[in-house]
Amino acid sequence: MDQRVKEHPVDPITVEVVRNAIVAYADEMADVLSKSAYNMMIYEVRDYCCGLLDTQGRMIAQNRGGLPIFLADLGVAVKDGIKRYGLDGFAAGDVVVMNHGTVCGQHLNNVVVYAPCFHAGELVGFAATRAHWVDIGGSRWGFSYNATSDVFAEGLQMRSLKVMQAGEPNETLMQILRDNIRSADAALGDLRAQTAACQIGAQRFGELVARYTRKGVADCVSLVWEQADKAVRQVVAAIPDGRYEAESFIDNDGFNLDRPLRVKVAVEISGACMTIDLSDMNPQVESSVNSGRSGGIACARVAFKALTSPDLDVNEGCFRALDVVLPEGTMLSARPPAALGQWSIIMPTVIDTILKALACAIPDRIPAAHKGDLGGCSFHGVDDNGAPFLLMNIFGGGWGGRPHGDGASASMSVCQGDVRNTPVELQEIKYPFIIERHALRPDSGGAGRFRGGLGVELTYRCLCRCRGNLGFDRTLTPPWGLAGGHDGVTAIGIIERADGTVERVLKATGLAFEPGDRITFLTAGGGGYGDPALRDPDLVRADIDNGLVTREAAERDYGVRCADAASASTDPPGALAAQ
């Protein structure tokens, strides 16, 4: 070991070594969590994050590849525990669980589990994970459940409770969990996976501290934060100063279907600082489409990160140049006991709107709007063998056209990164459904010089009685075009009953289905970018040949006639797509 390095721990070399190590540790935690988790929200949806925090609850490092909306926000959960127990109130072998609505601001399914990390008897930090449990008790069941109006109906709240105390399990708490949660085996399995991940993180961080001393690691980490901050400020400084505003609407809160909800944002750039002002957001609502303050912060941070440091690892330093103005009482800063079950569903729209506000300031870095919802379906019931089932799937949709190219089709929302749809074959193996169609949705991408991406189309046929929830949005302000591009086509759910009746539904909770009923989910396309008349006619023709744009739409939107009857329009008659 180089003596000089020991004496001056903040040399650039040690900083780089520590920088790489802390993220590798967080990634190792994520590997353990996702590989041994019991529910698809963790292993497919990646609805989790893992990280190392210091004794003030600040994020030292976070894993790569978790859900984008979890940005350096484990701190509030850990700080609550520090307040409760004091820094000397933790022992090696403690494991704390935390999902309190008021403190965490997210739906109760998001359970934070963390463990203190000791070196030579001294508390040096925490290893923490947050993961979405498939159930947490209460009346909510599956995605898109809109029927709660306060947080108490939404399940168990555990505020900084030690589920393990110095290695001894808290049997009382375990019993409460077992008796109050629907799929208790899965929840307890996830708790085990989270605990193991935290213990590994705590051990690794302890090893790092042993190697470079507590101060050495802290000095390196603060330099890593400073470097991230510097990089971010350079980007912000290049945006012209000014106050930029934009507005859009969420269709409704799922309760009052005729009452749109306002999403109004202002972005202020002043030198190297950005302020995102969410004061004019719609007030909190009666249903569960609310989040606590952390939801508003998450929206602002996702937009900010995408604009300023998409490639940097997530840590505290990435957000120092961002100020968020968010008074209490909005949909993104709801007062207790607001229901929080649908806490994240408005986020893609809020983020889209923040980006739109900046479109006039930095036009070549803002794409047109994307599909704008979280796009999931969920069915539950009891199959013919008497076994209860819960099917959940998440779909992609169209992303907006870009200043220099077409938008991506069938892609997860801005709030969902490496989230994967569930294979059709897997769904049919596990659940009583036949999936008749999984396809792109022609003509759904907004026309433009650069076309919006296409939504998807997915048809389920029920084989047994069940109930399902739908949660589509963004029809009042469809995925908008930019710079003269057209809007994308909005989402819709179409139910064809076995008796031939057809209903069109956007949001619904607990719809009853009978065998033979068909439900088709059509997700939105992205907005177009630029005047469609400027689109390269060869690209229009290629879109026609590939069946992404129909001849009629090509003529209508692009003024391109395709006389060549031989070009392959081999698209099967997508009866529903044509409606």
Binding site: Q3, I13, E44, A193, Q227, L355, E428, R437, N546
Partner: protein, 683 residues
């Protein structure tokens, strides 16, 4: 027995062989237009007449390059009605989560060339809709009209019942014998329609080009009176017949980096090392793989190309973690003053600053040179003229001055960063499988591996490092030890304890028959073959499964107490927890068939007594180990002259033609009877 292995890389074609009891090697430039020319030349240079050879083992990047360059056949895809877009939709995930301009995998087949056929299987393998043969006729006409050379067929639930794929395949092959037809169930019988489609398309896309190339190779060898066997390297660490490679070229996709790991596996067995990490550091990357009981770890599923936009391939691949840290990795400073090493590399041209070609970029090799760890006079056997002043000036200008460090501090720092990054990668391959790195030995090879291995080992508290003889050529040499191998998989989903014994027996029997059939087709004697079954198990509710060895159907369908213990233990080892009371579930049954090599020439070389030649001592040189300002006068030794049994106490530099081994102060190296170095690292 005379055997040679020829590996065609992007730049060089390397040959290693064991001919008339002698080790032969040669290296020549790859000839992309007709790679057989380079093969002929490499045989010439090595003075090997094809007529005297019994076996040629061949690895090639042709399949993977065809994909990376997107220069494969015009390919059509046939799918089940309603599922035309499975391939374009993929899993809808965005790996680059915060990139508003993210890219996703670009299909290798246009939507216009993707055709739906009315037909449908259910998940249990029963028929929901029979094949519409008239629709198939129309599709064949459209494929003709589009001028396709290859067709991939991937139907929903074909893994459960391939009857419809077989029917469509038979019609296509009969009607259009010149089309290269790939049916998904012939490649893999595992659920997940997107990954299976992508794998099937990859095979079809590269098929005609690889088939043409291997045909030419066969023609050339036949013309040169070669009468032996040709074996093609595959990603799973085994080899297959030339005919099989022409049918399933997708299985040779990632064969390049695996040969060295096969060699490391054999060496681990010979030295009695139950757990080792193979570590291969070359010019651009460092590769690590866990080796348990002499076999490199296998992972199912891989992405061809980069992580965000590459093409998924759902087949077994030797699990190699590769990071951008090699001799040519560039040290650079970001806009905020942070120092980084790699992943960009200078490549062979312009090469490190010390090549004197004027790029002015400081790379790991320059740092090693300035620290006295590399001998400028003997670098790469003296073939390349080294220019130390150029390295010094690049180090100062690019790194030291901007950061306010001395030149030596900068050089030492670059090596520390690279070593730390490589140790994270070595650690990840072991902890990923629940193995504590301290319980492994590091087997280091590649041109730069032995130079960096001791610090990596120390970083991870690994107490033993093995440096095989000829570490620079070891990777290519590993190919000569590859066995015939074929992997089979069959989806079989159910809870352990509730499985139907007849069904389980049927799946075992079906896989075993497929294995025997493949042995027959590849003319492998069944007597030497080894059949191993694995059950992919998980706790009910989990997604990720772990492969656990099973011997017979009754372990799954009957008394499964022993399997239960094995699974719980493995789960606890990998994920630090287990749940012995919970229901266990099987997802797939796998079969790995291997056939041991008839000859053991290459393995014999690994263990045959080493005969030292020449004078070992080459003087003293100042080498920087830890303190950049205090170089240590270090003995320099010539490896070919080191006698078996010799002990070398660090510090020492052990040089040979294509590699340098650095023994740090406190470490002890011993030369084994076969000439390998076994280093005891002071941890």
């Amino acid at each position: 027995m005379n055997i040679v292995g020829v590996d065609i890389g992007g730049t060089f074609t390397d040959l290693v062989g064991y001919v008339n009891g002698e080790l032969v090697t040669s290296k020549t430039s790859t000839t992309p237009a007709d790679p057989t020319l380079a093969i002929a030349r490499s045989l010439d240079i090595a003075r090997c007449a094809p007529s005297e050879l019994d076996e040629i083992l061949h690895g090639s990047t042709i399949a993977i390059n065809t994909v990376l360059e997107r220069k494969g056949a015009r390919t059509a895809l046939i799918t089940t009605e309603g599922f035309r877009d499975v391939y374009a939709i993929g899993r809808s995930n965005r790996i680059e989560a915060f990139n508003l301009f993210f890219e996703r995998p670009r299909p290798l087949v246009d939507r216009a060339l993707t055709f739906e056929i009315p037909e449908r299987m259910k998940a249990d393998g029963s028929v929901l809709v029979p094949v519409d043969e008239r629709a198939l006729e129309r599709t064949i006409a459209a494929i003709d009209a589009a001028g396709c050379e290859a067709v991939a067929v991937c139907l929903v639930h074909a893994y459960a019942n391939p009857a419809h794929e077989k029917l469509i395949g038979a019609i296509l092959r009969r009607r259009r014998p010149d089309l290269f037809v790939t049916l998904s169930h012939e490649i893999l019988r595992e659920y997940r329609e997107y990954e299976r489609t992508s794998t099937t398309v990859l095979n079809a896309f590269v098929g005609p080009r690889v088939d043409g190339y291997l045909g030419r190779l066969e023609g050339y060898l036949g013309g040169a009176d070669f009468t032996g066997q040709v074996r093609i390297m595959r990603s799973n660490g085994g080899v297959m017949s030339l005919r099989h490679a022409r049918e399933q070229p997708v299985t040779m996709m990632e064969s390049g980096p695996v040969a060295g790991m096969i060699g490391a596996g054999r060496l681990a067995s010979l030295l009695g090392l139950p757990r080792a990490v193979g570590f291969d550091m070359g010019g651009t990357t460092a590769k690590s793989s866990l080796i348990a009981d002499g076999v490199p770890a296998i992972e199912t599923g891989y992405v061809i190309g980069d992580r965000a936009t590459g093409q998924p391939m759902q087949l077994p691949v030797v699990d190699i973690v590769e990071i951008g840290a090699g001799g040519g990795s560039i040290a650079w400073i970001d806009a905020q003053g942070g120092l980084h090493v790699g992943p960009q590399s200078v490549g062979a041209d312009p090469g490190p600053a010390c090549y004197g070609k004027g790029a002015g970029l400081a790379v790991v090799t320059d740092a090693d040179l300035l620290l006295g760890r590399i001998n400028p006079a003997r670098y790469l056997g003296g073939d390349i003229q080294i220019d130390p002043p150029a390295a010094r000036s690049a180090m100062r200008r690019a790194i030291a001055e901007p950061l306010g460090l001395s030149m030596m501090e900068a050089a030492r720092g670059i090596v520390r960063i690279a070593d730390a990054a490589m140790s994270l990668s070595v650690r990840s391959v072991s902890v990923h499988r629940g193995v504590d790195p301290r319980d492994t030995a590091l087997i280091a090879f590649g041109g730069a591996g032995p130079l960096h291995a001791m610090s990596i080992a120390r970083e991870l508290s690994i107490s033993q490092v093995v440096v095989p003889k000829l570490p620079g050529a070891f990777s290519a040499y590993g190919m000569l030890m590859a066995s015939w191998r074929q992997d089979f998989v069959q989806t079989l989903i159910g809870r352990i304890g509730e499985l139907d014994a007849t069904q389980v027996e049927a799946v075992f029997a079906e896989l075993a028959e497929a294995g025997r059939e493949q042995l027959r087709r590849d003319r492998q004697g069944a007597g030497t073959a080894d059949f191993r079954f694995y059950a992919d198990l998980r706790y009910a509710g989990q997604e990720h499964a772990i492969s656990i060895p099973v011997e017979a159907p009754h372990q799954l369908a009957g008394d499964h107490g022993d399997l239960r213990i094995r699974f719980d233990r493995e789960h606890a080892r990998r994920y630090a927890q287990s749940a012995p009371d919970e229901t266990m579930e099987i997802v797939s049954l796998r079969l790995v068939v291997t056939a041991a090599r008839d000859d053991t020439l290459a393995e014999r070389w690994l263990s045959e007594p080493f005969v030292a030649e020449g004078d070992a001592s080459a003087g003293l040189r100042d080498v920087v180990f830890d303190d950049p300002d205090t170089p240590i006068p270090t003995p320099v030794l010539w490896r070919p002259a080191l006698k078996p049994g010799m002990c070398i106490s660090g510090p020492a530099v052990i040089e040979e033609a294509n590699s340098t081994t650095l023994i740090h102060p406190g470490d002890e190296a011993v030369v084994t009877d076969a000439g390998h170095l076994v280093v005891k690292v002071a941890v």
